[in-house]
């Protein structure tokens, strides 16, 4: 990750992340939250802001927020309440957003990120509060602006970090950690393209070594990891350039424009921060008992970083593998189920399972745009494939063919191997014949090899594999070839 400490300056960054909660209904009415429904079909007097309609809080919103609060080590406020954040915009029919202001339900936590050098860093969480989403404005389809209020009232949590982030790279790691946590907790689908996860950043720069903060700008519209990194890098450089020329940073809100690769100030900014919050009189306070907190805490799943460390320890796989496997909870579940299904478990076999998942399985998931839940090879069958491979019953080339067959067949790997005669050939007499054939068809290779071109060995092994239709035991072929070429194994390696 490139350093942003341009010269004498360092960046100070805090992120505000909005996450859409995976509830079935909206925060304050029982309209469905289904994404992609026909416009203005999931609306009712409450979310349309009709006079006299009263909101009632969805219990699940509190439950989900508590999960995130506890997973990030926040303190849970025993009594919290909602506030109205007032502003006028056509996608907010009430003229205010129901949010939390002075008494957010969660505060004072942290998230751990793993830096590239393997060390971890804590990013403080200032607060997590509950609020509702606004509707959607569509500007380009008509001379007028069109408004769809399906999203209006969909529950969000806003997660505000401390200004602990020091580079665009760290910001991305933090956002990835937040997204992973939300998905592990089953409270947000993490889909940045559909807007389920959105991010704004507060950015300032200061002279290195200073403990005072510089004037910050708020950068909006950072709706992908890539944009977070690009926008922050741009904004940090812009601020440093202004300061280096003796200028001052103006406190303002800036929009990131991905197409021009720059940030620009938003107009009408003089009103942007006067939301005239006041307590929401239509909702009663939320009280969270110690029993409620303890129940949610007890039900928390193993969190990503803890799981990563456990996978490394328990299965002896490298940190890199563990990092990929825990990216999604279901993928790590798949890995562990496969490992659990091994009849003769060993670190070698765990590593083979990990290799299959990181290469072939993820490739298929990507190609078919499916998730591991719909992957056609169950973990038990992958485990069996790995055992056949580890016992040298099948060569790795056959294993690949078998894998491809398993994608479209419900059969067990051992059945297919028996049925198709895929068993690896380790019959030395038979293989010697193939070795002779390879040498006689490529007479120049012996000399080349003896002249020091050891690479021809691989070519010859390949030829024998071809003659055997992939069934030859490649290690045995290699040994036989080395014997025939008159070299000891150790010398050739």
């Amino acid at each position: 990750m490139q350093s942003v400490h341009t010269g004498d300056y360092e960046a100070v960054i805090g992120l505000e992340v909005h996450a859409q909660l995976l509830t079935a209904t909206k925060a304050f009415c029982r309209c469905s939250t289904q994404y992609g429904a026909a416009p203005n079909t999931n609306v009712c007097p409450v979310c349309l802001g009709h006079p006299g309609a009263l909101p009632v809080l969805n219990r699940q919103v509190v439950e989900f927020t508590l999960r995130m609060g506890l997973a990030t080590g926040c303190t849970i406020r025993p009594r919290s309440r909602f506030a109205r954040k007032n502003y006028f915009y056509p996608d907010l029919p009430k003229g205010y957003q129901i949010s939390q202001y002075e008494d957010p339900i969660c505060y004072g936590g942290f998230v751990e990120i793993e830096l590239e050098d393997g060390t971890t860093k804590r990013i403080g969480i200032t607060r997590i509060h509950m609020e509702e989403d606004a509707g959607k404005s569509i500007h380009d389809h008509d001379v007028d602006t069109l408004i769809d209020l399906n999203r209006c009232g969909v529950p969000l949590i806003e997660i505000v970090s401390e200004p602990d982030i020091r580079s665009p790279g760290e910001a991305v790691l933090y956002l990835q950690a937040i997204r992973q946590l939300l998905m592990y907790l089953g409270i947000c689908d993490g889909n940045m393209e559909e807007g389920s996860l959105r991010c704004d950043a507060n950015v300032s720069v200061r002279r290195r070594g200073s403990d005072r903060f510089g004037t910050k700008t708020e950068v909006k519209n950072l709706n992908s990891f890539r944009n977070v990194e690009r926008a922050l890098a741009y904004e940090i450089e812009r601020q440093i350039a202004v300061l280096a020329q003796g200028g001052t940073i103006e406190q303002e809100t800036r929009m990131w424009d991905a197409s021009s690769g720059s940030t620009r100030p938003m107009r009408s900014k003089e009103f942007a921060h006067d939301y005239r919050y006041f307590p929401e009189p239509d909702l009663v306070p939320v009280e969270v008992s110690a029993e409620w907190i303890e129940r949610v805490r007890a039900e928390l799943p193993e969190l990503p970083l803890a799981r990563k460390r456990r996978l490394q320890e328990q299965y002896g796989i490298p940190a890199y593998d563990a990092g990929i496997l825990i990216a999604e909870r279901s993928l790590a579940d798949y890995f562990e189920r496969a490992c659990g299904a091994l009849r003769e478990p060993s670190p070698e076999r765990y590593k083979l399972i990990s290799n299959w998942i990181m290469t072939e399985v993820l490739r298929i998931l990507g190609e078919r745009k499916i998730d591991i839940g719909s992957f056609p090879i169950e973990p038990e069958r992958l485990a069996e494939l790995v055992e056949l491979q580890a016992q040298r019953t099948i060569s790795s080339r056959i294993a690949k063919e078998l894998f491809a067959e398993l994608l479209s067949s419900p059969a067990r790997p051992s059945e297919l191997v028996a049925e198709r005669g895929m068993v690896q050939v380790s019959d030395a007499g038979y293989l010697e014949q193939l070795v002779e054939r390879a040498l006689s068809e490529n007479p120049d290779t012996i000399e080349k090899y003896r002249a020091g071109k050891v690479a021809v060995l691989g070519f010859l092994v390949g030829q024998v594999m071809k003659y055997s239709q992939g069934k030859a035991n490649p290690e045995l072929v290699r040994t036989l070839l080395l014997e025939r070429l008159g070299h000891s194994d150790a010398l050739a390696r």
């Binding site: 609306v43 009712c44 509190v62 915009y89 959105r198 519209n221 107009r267 009663v284 306070p285 939320v286």
Partner: protein
């Protein structure tokens, strides 16, 4: 003391355009309201009182997360000054000219 400047700002936040007479009229009204409420300042140790966040004493009025029937679209749109068969219509808003915190210009 409410100044004319403050009143203009409040009017602008409420997207109201007021004439000079109206501004003076509301300024005087605002001032009376603030004066009325300032009776609270005479309470001793006001800071030590817990703010009253709700006039009813109960808490935790929750609904279960179970969808109910929403309004038919035609009915939802019926009271809007302008709409087509599926959308509310408002005068063109320039995208991102002023996009509030949680909306992110979508």
């Amino acid at each position: 003391m409410i100044t004319l400047e403050e009143l203009r700002r409040i009017a602008a936040l409420a997207k109201l355009s007021l004439s000079d007479e109206e501004i003076e009229h509301f300024r005087a009204e605002f001032e009376r309201i603030v004066e009325y409420v300032s009776a609270l300042d005479r309470i001793r140790a006001l800071d030590e009182l817990e703010p009253l966040d709700s006039v009813v004493s109960h808490t935790n009025a929750f609904a279960d997360d179970v969808p109910h029937q929403s309004l038919p679209t035609a009915e939802a749109l019926a009271n809007a000054p302008r709409h087509n068969e599926s959308f509310f219509k408002v005068p063109k808003v320039i995208a991102s000219e002023w996009t509030p915190d949680q909306n992110n210009g979508q």
